[in-house]
Every structure is written in structure tokens, then in C-alpha cells.
């Protein structure tokens, strides 16, 4: 059943191209809603085995070369499917007003979503890689055609970085394939690779995935790409695409090369901590709202990598929880930034601060406050649950990293509050009269309200009851073999 997320989304994408323009968004909405429904059903199903990577489909594909069309699912992939469904639906809702070439727009958007579903469900390395690379090109077109600020540069940079990461992953996969003679992930997870191979192939593979996960210093595609992308594009980038990298790093790099991971884990922790602090510090100095959020994405993804580096049950489970949490929160922040930009035609914080947007857009203001609180890690939101779990996990392995990261969290709070204040609650330095007329028209549309509520609900639900996800994530993490005691 869960495999239908992939087929449904691909079918929707192709179907869209053949329809008249006004119908495109409705088909996209139905497709993403269907994907979310299927994902949620599987997620809440009682009888699912969350602990093991359970096969759902397996048919020979290129038998002469040992490739199978093999899909499988466990608690981690289900979590990722869920966040993909949420983000995709919200992204469609927030692009309700795309006027230029809507069919093509939703076609590329659904391709990204379908490819991501595929990545999260693949249990064959070749299949995994096909889906992983499939996501690259749609992003280029989404950004280059419908983007804003410096869009061609941002699109090309993002695409080339993704492809660079893909090339590194490719080398790693080839190394796995040629030494183990198999591409089947469950089989490979039991295979003992030669220690020397693990030592050189692990960093190649991990770095390749981490490029997409926004690891410092290869993160620069993320802020540029986010800024250039249209609203839905940024939402998908933050909500799904960055998770593809993190998921790949966990499922393939860490799980297949435990010895390589032991050798390199402290370096991962180092890069993760640098990323958290550095990106937060840079975000503090940005004047473009989307740049602030873009760097905050890099900072939050640093936590994911830190959780991986901790290498114990709590750290890794927290990292997966953070992938979900940041997916929802990042998408929400970008959605709201997009909604502001749509009305004011600026994202410059200094300009926004003179507009007193909290009056003109009360709903968006409230939503933005909630998103900022979630992003800062206020208890009650998912960000807190995730980050605290990661830090507890990391405490056992790298206590010093936790201390430094604490500073980072202060910085995150600082830049988030700064952005919040400047964008919605700026002081009206010019008095009422002059600028009241410039107040942009338009409260949030129904589509926007629905999309924002969906994401806020998700982050609140998980924040208040993290067991919902952790019960499904932890058994799956426990069966991975790289865990440190």
C-alpha cells in the first residue's frame, strides 16, 4: 500500500501535463493529499513492523546485473514519508496562486515529491540512487523558472552541488557494489566490508550525502538556493530535499560502514558543531528574511549530523526526530516568508520593519510567532523534543560538543527573534499617517491558512507527544549495527 505514494505521485505528475491550466492545482492537491493519506495510514497502522526494514515489493529489474526493484519500510522511512507528505501538501497549498505555467510547475513539484518517496522506500542501492538523482533536475527548473532573486545562479549552484554530492555517493555505491557484489540494502546491512574499504569509502559516501544535508563547508548551495527558489521550492528544499541527504547518510553510509563510522565520527561531530554555530552567526547578520531562514536550516541540520555523530540510540533517534521536526518547521517558515513576499514584494527586514505587518496580516503574524517559537526550540514544539534528545545522546559521546552547541542555541534564538521582530513587529518610525496607506492588502487566503495550520499542528503534536514518533523511530534505530553502547 505504502508503495502507492510513489506511483500515485508520478501518475499525478504526468497526468497534470495533459490537463487544462485551471485544473492543474486541483490535481496536485489531490495527489499530495492522497500521498499524505497513504503515508499517515501506514504510519498509524498497528500491525506494521517498525523495527525491521520490511520488504513490501521485490521484483527483478536487471537480473543480469543483480538489480532489483525492491521497496521496504521501517519506522525511520515511515517518519520521513510522513514529513514528505505534510510538506508536499502544504507546498501545494502555498502555491495556489502560481499563474505562470502552472502545469509545468506542479509537474516538477510532484516529481521532487515522488522521487523523495522513492528514496525513503528504496531497499536496493541502485533504485535508491535512481530516485536520489531524479530529484536534482526538477529542482533546477522549479528555481530557474519560478524563482526570484538571482534565480539562475542559485538554481545552477544548487544543481551542481547536488550533482557533486551525487557523484561522491556514486563512487561509494560502486565501491559497495563491486566489493560485496550486491545492491540489496538488507543483505548489505549484514555484510562485513573490508576495514580498509570502509575507512576510505565511508567519508566519500557520507560527504556525498551530507552535501545535500547541508554540512559545513559544503552548505553554501542551501541559503542561495532557498533564496532563489519560489515559495514551494524552498519548502520542498528545506522540508524534504535536505532530509534526503541525511536519510541517505544514515541508511547507507552509517549502516553499511560501521567501522568507517567509528574512525570518522569525531570529524563529523566537529563539522556539525561548526555548522551549527557558523550558520547561526551568519543568519544573525542577514537582511533578507529568506537568507535568515536558509542559514537557520543549515544550523538545524547541523543538529541532525551531530546526532548521527553521537552514534548512540538517543542521538540517532533524536536526529531522525529532528529531520521530521525541521522538515515541518523549515517548510512553515519558508511558506510564511513567501506569503509576506507575495504581498509586500520585499524580503528585506529593514523595509519590512517599517510596514507593521502584524496589523495587516494577523493570521500570518500569529503563524510566524508559532514557527519562530518552534524554530528556537521552545518546549511544546517538536524542535525542543528533537534537539534535547540529540544533546542528551551527544552528552555521552562528545560532552564538549554539547557545551559549544549550547552557545549555538542562544544564537538561534537571537536571530529568530530578530527576524520575527523586524518582519512583523517593527516600530513605525514615521508615524501613522505616511505608511498606513502602504500597508499591503490581503489577509491570508484559505489555502494559506490550511497549509500553515497543518504544519503548526504537526509540530505541536510531535512537540507535546514525541513518543508518537519516537516509538516508531527507536526500534528501527536499535536494529542498526553501528550503534555505540
Amino acid at each position: 500500500m505504502i508503495a502507492w505514494t510513489i506511483y500515485l505521485t508520478f501518475a499525478g505528475a504526468v497526468f497534470l501535463l495533459l490537463l487544462p491550466r485551471p485544473l492543474a492545482r486541483w490535481v496536485a492537491l489531490a495527489t499530495t493529499a492522497g500521498g499524505l493519506a497513504i503515508g499517515a495510514t501506514a504510519f498509524f497502522a498497528r500491525q506494521t513492523d517498525f523495527a525491521h526494514f520490511t520488504t513490501i515489493v521485490q521484483v527483478p529489474w536487471v537480473p543480469t546485473l543483480g538489480m532489483n526493484y525492491h521497496l521496504a519500510v521501517d519506522g525511520i522511512s515511515l517518519t520521513m514519508i510522513l514529513v514528505t507528505g505534510l510538506t508536499a501538501l502544504a507546498a501545494v497549498l502555498f502555491s495556489w496562486k502560481v499563474e505562470t505555467r502552472p502545469n509545468e510547475f506542479f509537474f516538477w513539484l510532484l516529481l521532487v515529491v515522488a522521487g523523495s518517496y522513492g528514496v525513503f522506500l528504496s531497499a536496493d542501492l541502485f533504485l535508491f540512487f535512481v530516485f536520489y538523482e531524479l530529484v536534482i533536475v526538477p529542482k533546477y527548473f522549479l528555481i530557474a523558472i519560478w524563482g526570484s532573486t538571482n534565480k539562475e545562479y542559485g538554481a545552477m549552484k544548487l544543481t551542481l552541488y547536488s550533482f557533486l554530492g551525487g557523484a561522491l555517493v556514486f563512487i561509494g555505491i560502486l565501491a559497495i557494489y563491486t566489493s560485496a557484489g550486491s545492491l540489496d540494502l538488507p543483505q548489505l546491512a549484514r555484510f562485513s566490508f573490508d576495514p580498509w574499504l570502509q575507512t576510505w569509502a565511508f567519508p566519500v559516501l557520507f560527504l556525498g550525502f551530507a552535501v545535500l544535508g547541508g554540512i559545513w563547508p559544503l552548505h553554501t548551495w542551501a541559503p542561495t538556493g532557498h533564496v532563489a527558489a519560489p515559495t514551494a521550492g524552498s519548502m520542498l528544499l528545506a522540508g524534504i530535499v535536505m532530509k534526503l541527504g541525511a536519510y541517505g547518510a544514515l541508511r547507507v553510509a552509517l549502516n553499511l560502514f560501521p567501522l568507517g563510522f567509528q574512525v570518522w565520527s569525531k570529524w563529523i561531530a566537529l563539522l556539525a558543531v561548526i555548522g551549527i554555530i557558523y550558520a547561526a552567526a551568519v543568519a544573525l547578520r542577514q537582511s533578507d528574511l529568506k537568507f535568515v531562514i536558509g542559514y537557520s536550516s543549515v544550523s538545524h541540520m547541523g543538529f541532525v549530523l551531530l546526532g548521527f555523530a553521537a552514534g548512540n540510540l538517543l542521538g540517532v533517534s533524536g536526529a531522525v526526530l529532528q529531520m521530521f521536526s525541521h522538515g515541518v518547521i523549515g517548510a512553515l517558515l519558508f511558506a510564511l516568508a513567501g506569503a509576506i513576499y507575495y504581498r509586500t514584494h520585499t524580503r528585506n527586514l529593514n523595509d519590512l520593519s517599517t510596514m507593521r505587518l502584524s496589523r495587516a496580516m494577523p493570521f500570518l503574524a500569529v503563524a510566524f510567532v508559532a514557527a519562530s517559537a518552534a524554530s528556537m526550540g521552545i518546549p511544546g514544539f517538536s524542535g525542543f523534543a528533537a534537539e534535547i534528545t540529540i544533546l542528551i545522546g551527544t552528552w555521552k559521546t562528545f560532552p564538549s560538543a554539547v557545551g559549544i552547541t549550547g552557545v549555538g542555541m542562544v544564537l538561534v534564538a537571537a536571530f529568530t527573534l530578530r527576524a520575527l521582530k523586524k518582519s512583523f513587529f517593527g516600530e513605525d518610525r514615521f508615524g501613522h499617517g505616511g505608511h498606513e496607506t502602504h500597508l499591503p492588502e490581503g489577509a491570508a487566503t484559505l489555502a494559506e491558512q490550511l497549509g500553515a495550520s497543518l504544519l503548526i499542528f504537526a509540530t505541536l503534536a510531535v512537540g507535546l507527544y514525541p513518543k508518537l514518533l519516537l516509538d516508531r523511530i527507536m526500534p528501527a534505530v536499535e536494529t542498526m549495527r553501528f550503534l555505540k553502547p
Binding site: V130, F141, A144, E152, F163, A167, F170, I171, L174, T178
Partner: protein, 512 residues
Amino acid sequence: MSYLELLKLAAPEAIVVLTALMVLTIGLVTGRRQAGATVSVAGPPRVARPPDSTPGICALVAALGLAVAAGAIVRLPGHAMLFHGMLVISPLNSLFQIICLVLAFFTVLLVRSSRPLPNHGEYLAILLLGTVGLLLLVGSEELLMIFIGLELTGLSLYIMTAFDKTERASAEAGMKYFLFGSMASAVTLFGLSLVYGLTGTTSLAEIAPRLTTGPGAPLLAAGIIMSLIGFAFKVAAAPFHLWAPDVYQGAPVSTAAFIASGSKVASFVVLGKIVLVGFAPANGSAAWHAMVGGWTPILALLAALSILLGNFVALVQKNVRRLLAYSAVAHGGYTLLGLVTAGREGFSASLFYTTIYAVTLVGAFGVVGFVRRETGGDDLLHFAGLRDRSPLLAGCMAIFMLSLAGLPPLAGFFGKFYLFSVALRAGENHGLLWLVVLALFGSLISLYYYLIVLKVIFLDEPMATAPVLEDYELGARSHFLPKMTLLVLAAAVLLLGILPGILVARILASFG
């Protein structure tokens, strides 16, 4: 052996030759009548647009002949050998003869996407003769016959390149191609004669056991290197690629498509057979820490040079055909990777890659032909806004470009995966990793320029000054066939990417 039997076994070649003669006759008969009609028109000279009927009939007959020839190959016996390997019928040869015929078939169908050439019948007849050369090239395992096939293909292509008499570039390209080509042929012939002198035989299967002299022997080395030069020229491997950019750009579009597809596939088949069968004992090793003299390090060097040079130079091209030419150099480099492994698996990967590459390029040149006919040029700026003018052509071009860049789910992706995985497995301790990393680096660069082409097509505003010579309704009857052909090619690229097993299994099975 009776003559009849010989004719039976050589039926495909004979059919293509007969078709060529038929097309020539039709072209001459109808063409002369039209020429007469044009002369009799009084008044100011106007650009005579040849009526559509003649080229249509010629192309139809040519396509039909190619299809019949392909059918004849299917009906051949599984294994047969004539005159010590001059003509060998084996599953592998038959498979690639069919592939060459199919590529020629599509080229013929797409001839009419571009500007009509004068003397259409003659052009198609020469194209068919070139196809006979390809059939001989693929179907032979004997040095002399291979050389004859090489020359027959080469001479046809020189003429086809220079065929557009109204274009200076065409004549220049033809001249360059001819000079470089005949030089390379001479060197190859010299090399082959050295090999013959050392072994006393021209049959590939008999050469291998007689190459008893150590691989370092200078005479043998000279023989091998010189014979490889001709093939390096044919597949446009750097540094023997210098003809490619001018020919791809200057020749009539369909000629360029034929050079990039059929000619390339046949050259790789025969190159593979020569090195893997004929020169088998002298293969050496191209592994990073264990280089051993032989032909693999030579091919590895050619591959590395082609990948780097092709990709870097393609970055700065402003003309799509020139860009395709340099990317062809790079793709030739990737394809050589499979041969460097000196094994069957590698050969199969190379053949798969070159086949899908050929299919892709026929399609890409088909699109170029349309654009050239529409706007009168094929620079990048002529492609601007193609998406608005013809979504179909733009979509097809996107598929071709992304397949060349090696992105899933298109055939180029699987081709690269197969090729690189075989290359990595071949050497002990991942000895060929250096070449694979280089190739991946190359494809990273290539993604940039392929995306630029797509950016121009999908993003840029059409040139204000672009002269639109013809309207581009898909419904226009004269465009229907070429457009359907393009669609079929694009579908093939997609299908071979999703179900590559179809072709891979065939190729592997044909090795026996």
C-alpha cells in the same frame, strides 16, 4: 561454396546496395525533370523550393530498404563464416548490424526535418552506401575487410559532409574531414601491415595466438599504436578529435547525426573486436599502481584526455552543434572506459553505452535540424524560447540532454552506472578508480553545459530578430513524420533507462 549461398549470407548488404541504386535512379529521374522545369521558369531568379514529393519517395524507399535489410539479418543463420572471417555471422555481429540499420533508418526519417538538400536522391544513396560500409565493418573479423569497411564508410561520410554546396562551412568541413581521415587511414593501414608482417595472418582470431613476442617488442608496439590511431580518429577520441567540431557544425545536420550515431557504434564494435580478440595477449594494464605496457594504457590515456578536453572545451561553446561535438569527444572517452577493462563485461558496457548515445544523438540532431530550418541557425540563441514555439521539440531535447548528462530515469544514467561499475570491478583493488573518478568529474562538468542548453530553451525569451521561416504546427503534414520519429527516439531513451535489461541482456547473450 556456390554463389547463391554467398548471396544468401550477404543478403542484408546486397539489399542495402540495391536500395541505394534504386534511390539513386528515382532521384535522377525525378530530379532531372524538376531541374528542367526550374530552368524554363522565366523572370528573376527565385529561391526554388524543391517540391516535397521527390525527397519523400526517396526517403520512403530508403527507409523501406533498411527495414527489409534488418528483416533479412534476422533470418540469417546463427553462425557462419566466409573466407576466413571476411564475413562473419554471429549473434553479436547481427545484433549490431541491426542496430546500425535502425540508426540509419531514423537518420533517413529525420533527413527531412532539416533544410532540403539539392539532389536529395544522391544524398540518400550515399548514406545507404555508408550504411553498407557499417554492415561490413561490424560483420567482419578480418583486417583487410575491416579496412575496406572503414574506407567505404569514410568516403561516403566525406561526400555527405561536403554535400551542402550552398554552405561554405560544409565544404570546409568536408575537406578537413577528408584530409584528417585519409591521413588516419594511411597510418592505420601501415599499422595493420606491421601486425600482418609480425603474424602472417589477417584474421583476428589467428592473430592472437601468434602474438608470441613479448608485449614490449617495439615493432608490435608500433603496429598496435598505429592501428589504434585510425579508430581513435573514427570515434573522435582526443587528441584525434580535431575534425569533429567543424564537421558536426558544418555538415548537413543529418550527416552529423549519422557520423555521431551509426559510424560511432560500428567503430566501437570493431575496435572492441580488434583489441579484445586480435590483440588479446598484449593488453597490459591501466591500473593506477600497476601500469603494464599494452593497449589498455593507451586507451586509458585516450579516454582520460577525451573526457577532460571534451568537457572543458564544451563549456564555452556558443553553438549547439559544436557543443555536441565536444561532448561527443567526452562520451567517446567514457565509452573507451569499458574497453580499458579488457574484458567481456566491459565490452558489453561500452556497446550498451555507445548504442544509447547514438540513439540520443540522432534525436538531438533531429531537434537541431528543426531549429535550423526554422530560424536559419543553430547557435544557442536560436534555441531561445523553443519551449514556447514547440513544447514537443523542447521536451524531446530535454530528454536527450538530460540523458547525455547521465540523469535518471534516462538511458544515459544506466549506461554510466553500468560502465563505471564494470570499470571499477575490473582492476584488482579498484585499480581503475582513477579513471572512474575522472569520468564522474567530467559528467559533473557536462551537467553544466547541458543545463545551459535547457535553460536557453525553457527560460530565455525568444530572439526578437529571429526570422521564423516556417510555422511550426505539429499538425502540419510535412512535419508529422519527423516529429513522430523524434518522439519515438525520446521514448526509446526513456524506456532504455527504465528497462535497460532489454538491451543489456541481448548484448550479453550475443557474446554466447
